[in-house]
């Protein structure tokens, strides 16, 4: 198998993690992964060997996610929204489970532009500069979105922290 496919396979665990931080649940996250991989394979001629594949893949995933959420919000305006509170962490139990649900809900509550900044820096561990490059925004914009996102998360998770 060629180096391109090998590198892509190696990135899958991180891409799945990033997807989970962006998407509203695990099933959506894996759908997002699939779409992202399909797009990357189609666009492989545009991939420049020697540049960072992780940044390239994060960008493809982030753009796919934005496309999906926009399409979904258009649909939501047309149709009656699904019943609210559809289960995050619906099975299992115990303190840990509840705590996980809490973080997920706090992430969901963030505006998209804050959530993607949080996902890249806090979840994926990218440096500010790298995250700004993936999102194609200036550093100052990234830090202001990131700080607002973090303040919102702190407020949400407040006492539990």
């Amino acid at each position: 198998m060629a180096a391109f496919e090998d590198d892509l396979l190696g990135l899958l665990p991180r891409l799945r993690r990033f997807a989970r931080a962006l998407a509203r649940d695990a099933a959506d996250a894996d759908d997002l992964c699939q779409v992202t991989v399909e797009k990357a394979l189609l666009a492989r001629a545009q991939w420049q060997a020697g540049t960072r594949m992780d940044s390239w893949m994060y960008r493809i995933m982030r753009n796919s996610w934005i496309d999906t959420t926009r399409a979904r919000s258009r649909a939501a305006q047309t149709f009656v929204a699904e019943a609210a509170g559809l289960g995050v962490g619906s099975d299992g139990g115990g303190e840990a489970r509840v705590a996980l649900g809490e973080i997920d809900r706090a992430m969901q509550a963030l505006p998209d532009e804050q959530r993607e900044a949080v996902a890249l820096v806090l979840v994926e561990g990218l440096a500010y500069k790298e995250a700004a490059a993936v999102l194609d925004i200036p550093m100052g914009t990234l830090t202001s979105r990131l700080v607002r996102g973090r303040q919102a998360l702190m407020a949400h998770l407040g006492e539990a922290a």
Binding site: M1, A2, A3, F4, E5, L8, L9, L12, P13, R14, R16, R17, R20, A21, D30, C33, Q34, V37, E38, L41, L42, R44, A45, A49, L100, I103, D104, M107, V118, V121, L122, V123, G125, A127, Y128, T143, S144, L146, V147, R150, Q151, L153, M154, L157, A161
Partner: protein, 224 residues
């Protein structure tokens, strides 16, 4: 000194240069509220990272990995004809020098007929009989018709990769390069030849590649 929230966050994340970090540290030393804020940033970071870290440790679902393993090599966009001719001429020159030096005449997978290079031996057999779907020592991943209406096939074998087109004599080699299956040198990245070869095939191609049915029909008709 006032420390704005962005600066404090950047300090907590270790994003500041040493000089700025020192200044923030001095401010923190005088203000317990700032110190507490830095601590909250770090706690939040650890909590969020900890929530998603197990996802990266999960086994990747088969359907995702299979998608990548099964991926055909995409055909890149066609390039202008002028470029193709220049490349074809350059390639032809390389071909004659490279094959004659590298393989010796009339040995291995290549033979000469009237000054042209043709596939021989197992390579010729594979080109004659093997369908794109088959695995083996020689792979023939793509078949197509060129602009002159000849059947052409992209092949990949131990010593040699290339494109061959069928004429009255046999499989004339249009392009060859060192094989992908054999030893690779550090100068040649795995996969780059595949993509380049597919690009060249795309340039020669009239219409689309043959599907499995068209390929069988062509084979049954002796590729004429």
């Amino acid at each position: 000194m006032t420390v704005d929230p962005e600066l404090l966050m950047a300090y907590a994340d270790g994003e500041l240069d040493p000089l700025s970090a020192k200044r923030v540290e001095r401010a923190i030393a005088q203000d317990p509220a700032l110190a507490a804020q830095v601590e909250r940033h770090r706690e939040l970071r650890a909590r969020i990272a900890g929530r998603f870290a197990p996802v990266a440790a999960e086994e990747v679902p088969d359907r995702l990995a299979a998608l990548i393993r099964a991926a055909p090599v995409a055909l890149p966009v066609r390039r202008p004809i002028a470029t193709r001719w220049r490349e074809a001429i350059a390639m032809a020159a390389c071909l004659v020098i490279g094959v004659s030096v590298g393989l010796g005449w009339d040995r291995g997978p290549v033979t000469t007929q009237g000054g042209w290079l043709y596939a021989a031996g197992p390579l010729a057999t594979a080109l004659d009989t093997q369908l794109a779907s088959a695995a083996g020592a020689v792979r023939v991943p793509v078949s197509f018709k060129d602009q002159a209406g000849r059947y052409c096939r992209v092949f990949s074998a131990a010593a040699i990769d290339g494109i061959a087109c069928h004429d009255a004599t046999g499989w004339a080699l249009r392009q060859t390069r060192n094989g992908a299956t054999g030893a690779t040198t550090e100068y040649r990245q795995a996969g780059s030849s595949d993509a380049a070869l597919m690009a060249d095939a795309q340039a020669l191609m009239a219409g689309d590649p043959l599907d499995a049915t068209a390929e069988r029909t062509a084979r049954a008709g002796g590729w004429r």
